[in-house]
Amino acid sequence: MAGQDFVLTTQALKKSFGKLEVARDISLSLPRGCRYALIGPNGAGKTTLINLVNGQLKPDSGRILLEGEDITRLLPADRVRRGLTRTFQINQLFPDLTPIESVTLAVTERDGTAGQFWRSLHSHTEAIDEAFAILQQLGLADVATRLTRTLAYGQQRLLEIALALATRPKVLLLDEPAAGVPKDESAALFEVIAALPADISVLFIEHDMDIVFRFASRIIVLVAGGVLVEDTPDEVRNDPRVREVYLGQAAHHG
């Protein structure tokens, strides 16, 4: 680890449900500021891997290190506080809160002022400023005071990321950020992701190969719970195994 600056490392993660192995010996390293894509056919264990890394699932064996510290036994919320945050494939938002309320909530949870019941919410001016800045950054400023459930779907996907950014992540795990978003909009959404602060390491799951090759600096191919290849987009594009196992299958689906 000494040579390169790896923010997140997994060492031989294993997990099975009964006889089904959903993660076999997964060892990965994310350098600071990376934009990695995690791809693989349906059922390859991509979301499972994110659930393992963020702590929603407990691995049967293996370790997870965040900036060299072992976080394998920590609860999801504790990992978030140390800078490891995820988003969800299916929106996990607060339908009856407005975006400004939702993101301010996430900011106050991070800076430790969320429990202050004696202070009115609008007195947390710095938190509100920060929340609004995040919303501006993601182009949500115009709808900041509308109820979340009334937002357009694409805006809800952006709010999903805004909530994660409010935790000031060092590592951001994006589980299909563009799931359900029309193709022309999803490129715009990935522009936003590409423009995230350079010190945040991003690992995203995405099915659209054009997007993956355009935005990923490196690609991890997951098949049947194990890492098949981890390489640059060009190498992955030309790898015959990937072609066979993944791209071929995707072509059948298409």
Binding site: R110, A114, G115, Q116, F117, H124, I128, T145, T167
Partner: protein, 328 residues
Amino acid sequence: MNAANPTLGDPHVWLKRQSRWSPFEILFWLAALLPFFLFPTYLTLASQVAIVALFAISVDLVLGYAGIVTLGHAMFFGLGAYAAGIISVHGWGEPLTGLIFAGAFAGLIGFIVSFLIVRVQHLALIMVTLGLGFLTLELANSMSWLTGGADGLRGISTWPIFNQFRFDLWGYTAYSYSLIALFVGFLISRRIVHSSFGLSLRGIRENVTRMPAIGSDYKFHLRKIYTISAAMAGVAGALLTQTTNTVALDSLSFQRSADVVVMLILGGTGRLYGAILGAIIFLIARDQLSGVNPQYWYFWIGVLLMIVVLFMPKGILGFLARIAGRRD
């Protein structure tokens, strides 16, 4: 900040507006003084309404704001009622310290219980609250040396407030005292609801699975509001003891736990005025109808509950707010 959109304005201004006092609220609290002048014969009832409204607000904090479905909150009401009664029987009838003692005692038990509450969800949560409620009732019943058992506690006497205002037969002092306590409880709750802590509670209610993903120790929040709510319910119970000089097992009953939830639903959960309005409607209706035909009181409550659940999922206040087109 965002000059491009004139309808939006500054988020600070918007957030501040959410917690601003509306003229309706000021009117409401002024109207709460009317019974002194218009219905002086009903001050005892008005005092009961204020007490139950405070209890309803305490339940709304956990049920309406934090989303913990509880069918056993009468245990804290009753614990407060008995705490105030027992110190009075043992020679300390000073009301304000009695209130604080009762609130602290109920809050302490609430704090302990809260560790159990956050461990369970869904049916198990309902059953644990229900079970703890019955448990407390049975405990009070069997500890008759302390509580007077089924006969209730005898010999309670409450001293005049500040050694000045004696609890009179007409209920002037009782209503003033209960109303002030309700108002203070309301102010505290209002502040909680409009704080960042209140926002976290709404977050828990809206989507508990997201909370850990934004780094929230939401169980800590839940324990905190549960403790606050228990203390407030205890104060309400103590008020009832002090204004009536009696306390009996019905203060701990399941009936009381269920009634308060019914009031919340009628008024609308997750809105403090819903709790107060529900208490007013429930108690006045019961007072008026029970004289006519007591055994059918619950028939109408049942029908009303079913209608509200089917057609007014946000309670009567929420229903009115929707008709009036306001954000709720």
